[in-house]
Amino acid sequence: MVVKVYGPIQAACPQRVLACLFEFGVDFELITVDLDSNEHKQPDFLQKQPFGQVPVVEDGEFRLFESRAIIRYYATKYGDKNRNLYGTTLEEKALVDQWLEVEAHHFNDMVYTIVLQKLVIPKMGGRTDFDLVHNCEKKLEQVFDIYEQRLSKNNYLAGNWFTLADLSHLPGIRYLMNECELGHLVRDRKKVNLWWDDISNRPAWKKVMQMFNGQG
């Protein structure tokens, strides 16, 4: 049975899930949710996701939301295909979880705010708070400095293999490099730059980007 993923391809959290599904070769169907028309806040959708957010995954009768819960589920389910994605020992898994928490709390909060301020609010007719954007950018500089140090000792965030912790960054960094015009955060740091080039050239992510660019 094909896994259904509800959400627009342009949104970061569905992209996170799709990257994971592509990594494991899981067949899925993307069912677009039109955020602009508030489809995600309608009663039908709220039945699927009570907070009115994307993505939602339906795997037969089984339904999940929260992208980082979804990727952990599939990485565990298909662990035999690529156990490195979520570690091969409890200790490795703990490090993946640690860096997933870092992505969620230190990295994502900043990126989310920048995207909201620079892209979403103007689209809705509001004004960007440039002071807030600048503060977030400064905090991201510190986060990327830590990543630079970490990646000087390890090829990837959680160790020497690509894991969910790296994967989880893909959508956010893509936003920073493109629409947010903050690519210098990555390009100015040697190891981060190498890491980004590596992870963003993975076949699974390229497939997500093909869909994003309307080619898939």
Binding site: P50, F51, F62, L64, F65, E66, R68, A69, I70, R72, Y73, T76, K77, L90, E91, K93, A94, L95, D97, Q98, L100, E101, V102, A104, H105, H106, I146, Q149, R150
Partner: protein, 242 residues
């Protein structure tokens, strides 16, 4: 400081730590927690360790002396300069929710089971763990900062922010109420990390007027009372009065 005040201390706070006595739970085991009494993230980790009946050494980190920002701490413990930091033999972890998860899995057969083993049940538990981390904690911690901490440090509560975040909390707790009519605990039919992670900020907010939002929802209210009265949590919370 009151219990409520302590429980809103952020992980990287420079607020003076009033507990000067070094608390040593055990010198024998290879489990260590570097943390600060009153830090919600530290208490989150300790709650898990106590639920598992594990002996560990608690090593206080002096936030007021900015120990957590020292080059030594940043280089060898947590580059983000926050507590807690957990050690188990050679493994060193930061991020409280990664620590609790490791403890729950590494010691799965000891003490309270804090995780579901069935993959689908485990996934549902993880969903609600994410809800706590992404939605509950930011909202409630913000309220705690405004209502509890700012006045204590001579700052003025921003009532507009309080109103804004109280308004955000209402629909969140509505979702919790519905969830808890369908499921005894957030993560499923038994107490798990999905519930435990709420404890530090939940305890703190229940000492404020925001408690009325929880009281107004019978299932949320019952759930909150239930988890806050767990012996392991009571043990952690009692560190504030020692």
């Amino acid at each position: 400081m009151s219990l409520a005040t302590h429980l809103f201390l952020p992980a990287s706070s420079s607020i003076p730590c009033l507990v000067k006595t070094r608390v040593l739970f055990s010198s024998a085991m290879a489990l260590k927690v570097h943390g600060t009494v009153g830090s919600p993230a530290t208490f989150r980790a300790l709650a898990a360790l106590h639920e598992k009946d594990l002996d560990f050494e608690f090593i206080p980190v002096n936030l007021s002396a900015k120990e957590h920002k020292s080059p030594q701490f940043l280089a060898h413990k947590n580059p983000f300069g926050q507590v807690p930091v957990f050690e188990h033999g050679d493994l060193k972890l930061f991020e409280s929710r990664a620590i609790t998860k490791y403890v729950a899995e590494a010691f799965a057969d000891k003490g309270t089971s804090l995780i579901h083993k069935d993959p689908k049940k485990s996934a549902i538990q993880t969903v609600w763990t994410e809800v706590e981390a992404q939605k509950f904690d930011p909202t409630v911690a913000k309220l705690g900062w405004e209502i509890v901490l700012k006045p204590k440090f001579g700052m003025t509560t921003d009532e507009a922010v309080v109103a804004e975040f109280e308004k955000k909390l209402e629909p969140l707790l509505d979702v919790y109420e519905k969830r808890l009519t369908e499921s005894k605990y957030l993560g499923g039919d038994s107490f798990t990390l999905a519930d435990l992670h709420h404890l530090p900020t939940l305890q703190g907010i229940m000492g404020t007027k925001v408690k009325s939002q929880f009281d107004a929802r019978p299932h949320v209210s019952a759930w909150a009372s239930d988890i806050l009265s767990r012996p392991a949590w009571v043990k952690v919370a009692s560190m504030l009065t020692k």
